[in-house]
Symmetry: C2
């Protein structure tokens, strides 16, 4: 059974107070859900049970609203925009008793703006022609024109909320005839997430559909290599079902045209390399950031990070094999990746990395087909994913379908309008996604996995044992972790552990190739008379970058890049 | 005329209170001086005129004392160790009137521990045999055995202090005959720094001999390219006089044995590359750190940084030309550099960098013979220096004499026991230099050059103009600078300036090759009613590392790596 920390997929959990807080002027309720599509921003609650926070200024900008939703990811809702039109529409709503009955065939004729856009939902027929222009997801809504909404709403589960149906009701023009209703019901039984793989029951679930989950932090530092079943999972869409025999990796942008490689070719024709690399979600520790002020995104704790061995062909070997050479090098600057996980329109998950990272012998970018010595689990990209060591998880594309050598970055939402960092002073009114670079290398990070926040320490123990992890992006080795039990006034140097398992000896990394985290621990004497300990850690990497002291100065509206000192409070009894 | 901010070379400036604070139990005075050799630690005063600080626990560890002083750099004094012996010696001091007269020849016979160690100073003869073991500079003192102290004290000007002469007086055994005195006086007129080049009068001098100086911060951001004459100078020893026709660069550690390259060979046989690179001293902003707690080192302000164009041969081209290949690559890990600037024993300045930085096409390491389009100035390494972009100034060796490919780092003091970072909890009792990596890449940095700390802002102006620089090590481009006028509560995004001079267009850097700083500026509305503004800046680099909030948590006993938010206070009138 999954523990639902804060379900943001199929169903949304809201306290009554949160719901009322989210109602807009015109009493149109606005709820939070950030599975595939998020219909509001600024609302959140942490899994530790703190009260919810709401942003005081709710002024979404249509451009970002549309861009975000078209991309089918967690995003800003624009249902507030609906309010003016809904008043008009509401005035025109006829009573159900007097509504005509339509056949599916008649509905299907209304599939263009000229002829009107009709859709069906739950046996009713709606003319949403006027709504198209204000649909938060843009004209993607036209995909449903003349047909049923259910297949789309099951993918973008955020629609399954009372307030969305309320809005829809304003456009009702008839009912579907009984026979067609039955046909639809049969078809609608298909859940796009029904083929998602089984998961480990220990995972703390942030969102079930799509699946996003992290392990309990205590388990995280039990082993230097994170067991695959406990490795955090960040899916943007349903897990694609890939037949390994039919799998083809397409390589584009080279003089020879599109190349197509089988799984067997990847495994047999290229040397197999193995790296131990830590992958961290750019949103790791978002829950620390949202304590300061609401942010938009999955409410990750501090375990959206893991360390595994990855084996596969080097991307550079494959690119050179496929014809990469000086001619391409003269122009190309980026390598784009596309996943086989597609949204309802067939648009795949896509991002890119700089070409020099992909080509460098020291970049260690892999087309990995093994994780921890076994074939990739479905949730981690079976049969092939990219491993871009030192770089944010978002660029380590799973279920890899296509590699494109290009002069430009990926045009996809996840490269252009997501996974970027902004100043604390930037809000949704002023944000300009073009002004910030896509997150690639991540900054230095560390967190405390023991003691647990809010736990008790026995004064008779004389010492408090502190454990955690530390890692930095760009292959910069963690060279020191400082730990304090008095909130940062005095510091102790923790003992670093490169690895603890004989079967996974971590080689001494070359400068710039330290891809794996370090686990650390220290026993610190209990300060005399202290009743509360504020345990704090900060890591230093080989470029002597260190973590900022506090969260507010690095707060950003997307809640990414949260790497301030990690803090845990414990009581001494 | 040089403005002596805090002379730590030839003569030391002390307030009477500072001197008394430094007296030890037995009334042996202990003064601070950190030119070539520092005879105490924990004492300092900033150039802004704050009162001096003294470390409460004065417990030098002989090992570090000797290691530091043997290396001829600023270091810990061990004159406290002298106190026991001095009591004994003081009891034995005869009156001058009864002292015998010795010839230079007789003195010269006492040049070994067997025969006793005699030296002369200012016409007097001293038997320092008992002092050798407790000399802070270790047995390097034996170099003066049988001769005059003056040539050594002129190089290590720290000796020229009253308390050192007081100690020496305890060992007096005679006077030198008049004729030999005259000969010595003639010889002692040679000042090893007499051939140092003329310098720009605007420079703020930290130490005259050796010369260490930085420009006034306001001038620093006047131009994207720092004029050579205003570029901060960090010399460890006298500037060597190099005849370009006799200059030879030695390359060692390759199968072909020692190679020797002329200046002309470097210029003619290898393609000339130019990079715009910022060089920053690892001790930049040390004065901010020493406000928290005393640190050891030159009291740099925040202008020990500059940006210049550097032209020369690529080190990788030279190494491959000299026979670098797979055979060497299999073993070698470091490239050591030695300067032609030597201490009195002939030991050169020496450090090393990782081999992969030196060999990478994207590392852009140059054997530079030009700075800002002209041959290197004497203070900046004429005729050849190494430019290691993105790496601390200390590794950018000037007056380059030798390059050694090696399995190990340089064994020199500056690599092993200096230029390393430690935890704030590490003190001189607990420091273990082996536990920390040598500083290579520097962390992200920024500072405010306008307004000046303590200045006035006219309320009628409505805005305050803020300017500064920002840079990060490792080729990580500065992507954003946040500025606050309320001490960090609210933030504004500054406008970045890549370059401002048509003659030096900065090319758009590839990822990981952004070697040059960015100048930035912003006009921020004056907060209503504010009487004091705390102006603060922090930069973010392409790996989204940012600067820590405050200095105390990054304080370290050497005062290096000070990159906390830069803060300036101004009054509104």
């Amino acid at each position: 059974m999954h523990r639902l920390r804060h379900c943001r997929g199929l169903a949304c959990v809201f306290s009554p107070s949160a719901q009322s807080a989210l109602k807009l002027k015109n009493n149109i309720p606005l709820a939070s859900c950030s599975g595939l599509v998020s219909y509001c921003w600024g609302s959140r609650s942490s899994h530790q049970g703190q009260s919810s926070y709401y942003y005081s200024s709710w002024r979404p900008r249509l451009r970002y609203v549309l861009m975000s939703l078209v991309a089918g990811t967690g995003a800003v809702v624009a249902y507030g925009l609906h309010q003016v039109k809904s008043e008009r529409a509401a005035a025109a709503v006829p009573q159900t008793v007097s509504l005509p009955v339509y056949t599916q065939e008649e509905v299907m004729k209304h599939c263009s703006l000229d002829k009107g856009i009709w859709v069906t939902y739950n046996g009713d027929v709606y003319d949403i022609t006027d709504f198209v222009a204000i649909h938060p997801g843009g004209n993607r809504i036209l995909l449903a024109a003349g047909g049923a909404l259910e297949p789309f709403w099951s993918l973008y589960a955020v629609h399954r909320q009372e307030h969305v149906q309320e809005i829809l009701s304003g456009y009702k023009v008839g009912v579907l005839q009984a026979e067609d209703c039955k046909k639809q019901e049969a078809a609608n039984l298909v859940d796009p997430y029904s083929t998602d793989p089984p998961r480990h029951p220990a995972l703390i679930v942030n969102s079930l559909k799509p699946f996003n989950a992290e392990p309990p932090p205590g388990l995280l530092t039990d082993s230097y290599i994170t067991p695959s079943a406990l490795f955090f999972t960040r899916n943007h869409l349903p897990v694609p079902q890939v037949d390994p025999n039919k799998y083809r990796l397409k390589i584009e942008g080279l003089p020879s045209g599109t190349m197509s490689l089988t799984l067997n070719t990847l495994k047999s024709n290229f040397p197999k390399y193995t790296v131990i690399a830590t992958i961290q979600c750019a949103g790791n520790r978002r829950s620390d950031m949202s304590k300061v002020k609401p942010v938009k995104g999955l409410n990750w704790g501090f375990a959206a990070i893991g360390n595994a061995t990855w084996s596969g062909a080097r991307l550079r070997d494959v690119l050179y094999h496929c014809g990469f050479g000086p001619e391409v090098a003269a122009k190309a600057r980026h390598v784009q990746f596309e996943g086989l996980d597609c949204d309802v329109t067939g648009m795949p998950y896509g991002v890119s990395i700089p070409l020099n990272k992909a080509l460098s012998e020291e970049g260690d970018v892999l087309l990995a087909y093994e994780m921890n010595g076994e074939e990739l689990p479905a949730d981690h990209g079976y049969p092939v994913r990219v491993i871009v060591p030192g770089v944010a998880g978002a660029r380590n594309v799973k279920w890899l379908g296509k590699v494109v050598i290009s002069e430009v970055e990926s045009e996809c939402h996840w490269q252009q309008n997501d996974y970027k960092g902004f100043s604390p002073g930037t809000n949704w009114d002023t944000v300009d996604y073009k002004s910030a670079p896509a997150i690639q290398e991540l900054p230095v990070q560390s967190a405390i996995t023991q003691p647990v926040d809010g736990s008790l320490v026995d004064r008779r123990m004389e010492e408090v044992n502190v454990k955690g992890y530390a890692w930095s992006g760009g292959g910069r080795e963690v060279v020191r972790v400082d730990v304090s039990v008095d909130g940062g006034k005095t510091w102790h140097v923790a003992k670093l552990r490169d690895n603890g398992e004989d079967e996974f000896p971590a080689p001494s990394p070359q400068p710039g190739r330290a891809w794996a985290w370090k686990l650390w621990e220290i026993a610190i004497p209990l300060p005399e008379g202290a009743e509360v300990l504020e345990v704090v850690c900060k890591a230093v990497d080989s470029s002597y970058n260190t973590q900022p002291d506090s969260v507010p100065p690095i707060w950003n509206l997307r809640g990414v890049l949260c790497n301030a000192w990690h803090r845990v409070k414990v009581k001494v009894n």
